[in-house]
């Protein structure tokens, strides 16, 4: 199980979501994606995406305008 850092800072919607989906596809089941993004719409989108794709959203934090999420890739 690996932990991968995904830098989506500065990307506009839908950039962060598209990149997370791409990284998840390339990852192994059980891998953790640590994603940082600054697009405000990402919060809602990533939670909905994880829910619908069966990937597990472990944490979602926001500090200093940076949204950090940890996702366990489940498929």
């Amino acid at each position: 199980m690996a932990e991968r850092y995904v830098n989506c800072k500065g990307l506009q919607c839908p950039g962060p979501l598209v990149q997370v989906a791409r990284e998840a596809r390339g990852a192994a089941t059980g891998d953790i994606l640590v994603v940082e993004a600054t697009d405000i719409g990402f919060k809602k989108d990533v939670a909905a995406w994880a829910g619908k794709t069966g990937n597990e959203l472990l944490t979602l934090e926001e500090a200093d305008g940076v949204i950090t999420v940890r996702i366990r890739v489940s498929r």
């Binding site: 500065g10 506009q12 919607c13 839908p14 979501l17 598209v18 997370v20 989906a21 405000i40 989108d45 909905a48 995406w49 619908k52 794709t53 305008g65």
Partner: protein, 557 residues
């Protein structure tokens, strides 16, 4: 002896008229009569006072009678009812509400600023304890003390207009569970149904239960105290009820005096605020006005209009000789208005799309989401601009702007443009202020104008969310969502097909040519690219979803 100027009503328009008259006529005797204890208060701030956003009562009250007396030699008689007007003898017959004493006040010029009254529908239980309106500071005091004493857990707000929405938000912020009951399916008024649905969604997302299209049948309680509201759809628990179903011009005094009243019930006035008796003016929420776009009689009980009317009547009353300062007039208004509900800012001006079509305009609209400032500047937030114009005259007819970003600027730009008769072409090239903290190089209003020009010039066809919703399930329709796959997964319109715009040309064979194609993306930009690609490949029945998923307020999967 100078002129005797008498004003009836002492909130916004009345005190404005009195103050302006004083500035133009130092020698006039100016008397203001009001039934209330408070004068010159900010009626529009009342919901925020209830919600403790405005903490001090005195912040709401702009001036008191003592300051009018000391600073402006204006005599304000509080708790004084104007019982009737004797136009022949130019006298107001007044009653002191404390001792019942009746007396007369002479006038050379009389200004009626009697305001509007909250409508109390005639339903059983309307007089129970715990049922309130929110129109005056006194109303707000009663509501606040009830909340303080009873700590209600639930509240029903009846009416989805601006006051109802603001009150719902403020009660919810106190931790009270709020149900909003609105008779109409679409609210608030003044917005097209798909734009108002965005407002409704925001209210729901913030925990307010919304019952739209339901009528209040009865208010029920026990031992005189409210407990629930029975509607056409069921029953709602309510420890507290706020009736915000609208207001009616307060014109009893004017009608008894035989002054002309318009069809909408407000006092008829000309552009100088003169009633059918040239010695009597009417201003504020009791007075009718004209819709600038249609020329029809109108009535917009708004603080912004009330203050302008007050100033104009004050100018005429203070300069009865027609001297400098008396020539200002009010040709009409557009019903420009704005409010905030939870995180959403909502503004409007002019006609809605529906009104434009109903009036026979060759109306065309666009819906354009855009950031309120440079998208990369911290704090940038999206707004959605609905812009409406007449295809043949190219004139801008109306606009609605909603979003978490700045909406007052675009609404004010558009109100100005409409007032000055601007075409969409004018709007598209306005020289507006730009630097990243304030706007985009192409401001949202300019982007919207350009999208509308594309439509007017036949370069783009679109369908509103409202029109699309009415046709969902139509087998003739193919919903083609050209966003990326993950966006599509997050939410899409049921029945739509996903081909990302980057793959469209390669996969164009998958698109059924025999169908009418609605291209969908997030805001409309990728849909336009796809639209052009399909058009270039001989597809003739293609349109984009105006405003994309960003402005689509209905169910998704």
């Amino acid at each position: 002896m100078g002129e005797r100027i008498v004003v009836i009503g002492a909130v916004a328009a009345g005190t404005k008229a009195a103050a302006r008259a004083r500035r133009l006529d130092a020698g006039a005797a100016i008397t203001v009569l009001t039934e209330e204890n408070d004068v010159s208060y900010a009626g529009c701030g009342l919901p925020y006072y209830v919600g403790n956003v405005i903490k001090e009562r005195r912040e709401l009250v702009v001036r008191d009678p003592e300051s009018f007396k000391a600073d402006d030699s204006i005599e304000i008689m509080t708790r004084t009812r104007a019982a009737s007007i004797d136009r022949e003898r130019k006298r107001v017959i007044a009653v002191d509400l404390d001792d019942g004493r009746e007396f007369e006040v002479h006038y050379d010029a009389l200004v009626l600023a009697t305001g509007a009254k909250a409508i109390l529908p005639d339903v059983p239980g309307i007089h129970l304890d715990g049922v309130f309106t929110l129109r005056s500071v006194a109303d707000a005091d009663l509501l606040k003390s009830f909340i303080g004493a009873r700590a209600p857990r639930s509240a029903a707000v009846v009416g989805g207009g601006f006051i109802g929405l603001e009150t719902a938000e403020n009660l919810a912020s106190l931790g009270i569970g709020v149900t909003l009951i609105e008779m109409m399916e679409h609210f608030p008024p003044g917005f097209d149904p798909d734009v108002s649905a965005l407002i409704g969604n925001c209210v729901r997302e913030n925990g307010v239960t919304v019952l739209a299209g339901e009528r209040v049948a009865a208010i029920e309680g026990s031992r005189g105290l409210v407990q629930s509201v029975r509607t056409s759809g069921g029953s709602v628990e309510a420890d507290l009820v706020v009736m915000a179903v609208g207001v009616r011009p307060n014109t009893g005094l004017a009608m008894e005096a035989g002054l002309g009243v318009s069809r909408n019930g407000a006092i008829l006035v000309d552009e100088f605020m003169r009633t059918t008796d040239p010695q009597i003016y009417a201003v504020g929420d009791c007075a009718a006005t004209t819709n600038l776009l249609t020329g029809d009689g109108a009535w917009f009980p708004l603080g912004s209009t009330a203050n302008k009317m007050g100033r104009i009547a004050g100018s005429r009353a203070g300069r009865s000789d027609g001297g400098a300062g008396s020539s200002q007039s009010l040709k009409g208004v557009l019903g420009t208005s704005i409010f905030k509900v939870f995180g959403l800012n909502c503004g409007r001006t002019g006609m809605t799309l529906r009104e434009s079509l109903d009036r026979g305009h060759d109306a065309v609209s666009c819906t354009v989401p855009a950031p309120d400032r440079a998208h990369y500047y911290p704090g940038a937030r999206d707004i959605i601009v609905r812009l409406i114009a007449d295809r043949s005259t190219r004139r801008v007819l109306g606009a609605q702007v909603v979003g978490s970003g700045v909406v007052d600027k675009p609404v004010d730009i558009l109100a100005t443009a409409i007032t000055l008769g601007a075409t969409v072409d004018d709007l598209a090239t306005l020289d507006l202020a730009y630097a990243p903290p304030y706007s985009s190089a192409m401001a949202p209003t300019i982007t919207a104008a350009n999208v509308l020009l594309n439509k007017m010039d036949g370069l783009l066809e679109g369908i509103t969310a409202f029109a699309l919703k009415a046709r969902l399930g139509d087998p003739e329709l193919l919903l083609l969502d050209v966003r990326s796959e993950p966006e599509f997964i997050v939410s899409h319109i049921d029945g739509s097909v996903n081909i990302p715009v980057e793959e469209l040309v390669a996969r164009v064979g998958e698109v059924d040519r025999s169908k009418e194609i609605v291209v969908i993306c997030r805001v409309g930009k990728r849909a336009y690219r796809a639209y052009l690609a399909l058009k270039a490949r001989g597809f003739d029945r293609v349109e984009i979803l105006d405003g994309g998923m960003c402005a689509y307020p209905y169910d998704t999967v």
